[in-house]
């Protein structure tokens, strides 16, 4: 037993001490059989090589190495913090700009805490609820545009259905002509980052690629003039009257972290008296 182990050890030492040219073909063949162990074996080899080549100043080097490693981890840590701070700053600055843009509304900032567990819907939950003055049907903005609408609310949480959700329908209008249309979320469209719109009357061909689409003044749940996105494709429907196509949403739904909830509700016949 001992002899077998010794032979293995010596064999390993020899294999690692001689140049990798000798071991490379062996490893290649062995790799197919023992890939999981390869990494560990390699570590042993490197360790042994180190023992032999730098035996004299190994203590000094180890000490120095340890110090440097400590320094590296310290600096990495600090660097990470800085990078994180920077991205956070950028995000918050964007939010701040949006806040100024829609300054006539009062808003509450909230953080996205979880997402719909399946892959069919695009709803998420934020960490503000009734105790922060959130109510159902409040509009949610962020990342430069409309995000969605509050559909359910609890004491410390609110569920938001985003505008890209397949069951979301928004009464919208083209920003330049004020002609109404309907913006529909689309699960398949979002694979390419697009949602659909339809029923737009555009006799003068004023709506082109890049025209902004905003929420309509006749919507009963969405406040007027919130930016939804920009027209990406537009085509005439078969009825020769209306146009439909796709929109690229202004907000980036991939990286939602913070959102703003507008606490003003749209004025309707029911809540105005």
């Amino acid at each position: 037993m001992l002899s077998v182990l010794s032979i293995v050890c010596v064999g390993l030492i020899l294999l690692t001490l001689t140049s990798s040219l000798v071991t490379a073909p062996v490893r290649n063949v062995a790799g197919y059989i023992v890939t999981p162990f390869q990494n560990g074996i390699n570590h042993v080899g490197v360790w042994l090589t180190g023992q032999f080549s730098g035996f004299n100043d190994v203590k000094k080097l180890t000490k120095e190495n340890e110090e440097l490693k400590k320094q590296v981890s310290d600096l990495t840590q600090r660097n990470n913090e800085l990078v994180q701070n920077q991205t956070e700053l950028a995000r918050l600055q964007e939010l701040y700009n949006l806040d100024k843009k829609y300054s006539e509304y009062s808003k509450v900032a909230a953080q996205v805490i979880s997402k719909d567990p399946g892959n069919w819907y695009s709803t998420f939950v934020v960490n503000k609820g009734t105790k922060d003055g959130i109510a159902v049907n409040m509009n949610v903005i962020g990342q430069g545009g409309l995000i969605g609408i509050v559909t359910e609310v609890g004491n410390g949480w609110a569920q938001v259905r985003s505008i890209i959700d397949d069951e979301s329908n928004i009464s919208a209008m083209a920003a330049n002509t004020s002609e109404p249309c309907v913006v529909t979320g689309s699960l398949l469209g979002m694979e390419n980052g697009k949602i659909d719109f339809s029923g737009l009357r555009d006799g003068d061909n004023a709506v082109t690629e890049g025209t902004s689409i905003v929420t309509s003044n006749i919507s009963d749940r969405y406040l007027t003039g919130l930016l939804i996105g920009y027209v990406s494709e537009i085509s005439l429907d078969s009825n020769n009257l209306t146009k439909s196509g796709t929109i690229i949403p202004a907000a980036d739904f991939r990286s939602l972290r913070e959102v703003l909830i507008i606490t003003d509700l749209k004025q309707t016949k029911e809540n105005s008296n």
């Binding site: 979880s114 719909d116 399946g118 939950v125 069951e167």
Partner: protein, 175 residues
Amino acid sequence: MKRKLIILLILWICFLLQTTVFSMIDFLAAAPNLMLILTVSIGFMQGRTEGMLTGFLCGLLIDLFYGDVFGFYALLYLLTGYFCGRYSKIYFDDDVKIPLILVTVCDLAFNAAVYILRFLLRGRLNIIGYLRNVILPDLVCTLLFTLLLYRLFYRINHSLVEKEKKGRQSLWIRD
């Protein structure tokens, strides 16, 4: 009793993970359906009743926080648990192959049900598109996690069942 509490705890952790970490990881093409894995595992290991109960609780949690038709997911998961429970007496539960097959069947059926009841009825006819972009990524991800998680669930459940049996023997009660 202790075993049931621990299963509840696992269920809760799965739900938390599924709604936070896994839903937000971008490189996963789809979020793995941990709740489905748990339901299938418990159903397959413990039989109809517990499978049904686990599934029901899983669905209820999702309905509570995310469903707009309350009870929809509870029903789907309940049926999943029951379906898998039927096989607990036919096959041994120490092999991961049967759960993999069961997860495949259940995941496909589950997503087909969601598609037909919630999308097809609204006139979304592009079945191939939904299959390729939603159902298949979901299936692959869920299967991958089944491979990892089933063993874990199995070990936890097995050790707990053993303990339960010992406790029963000491009380002179045999079943």
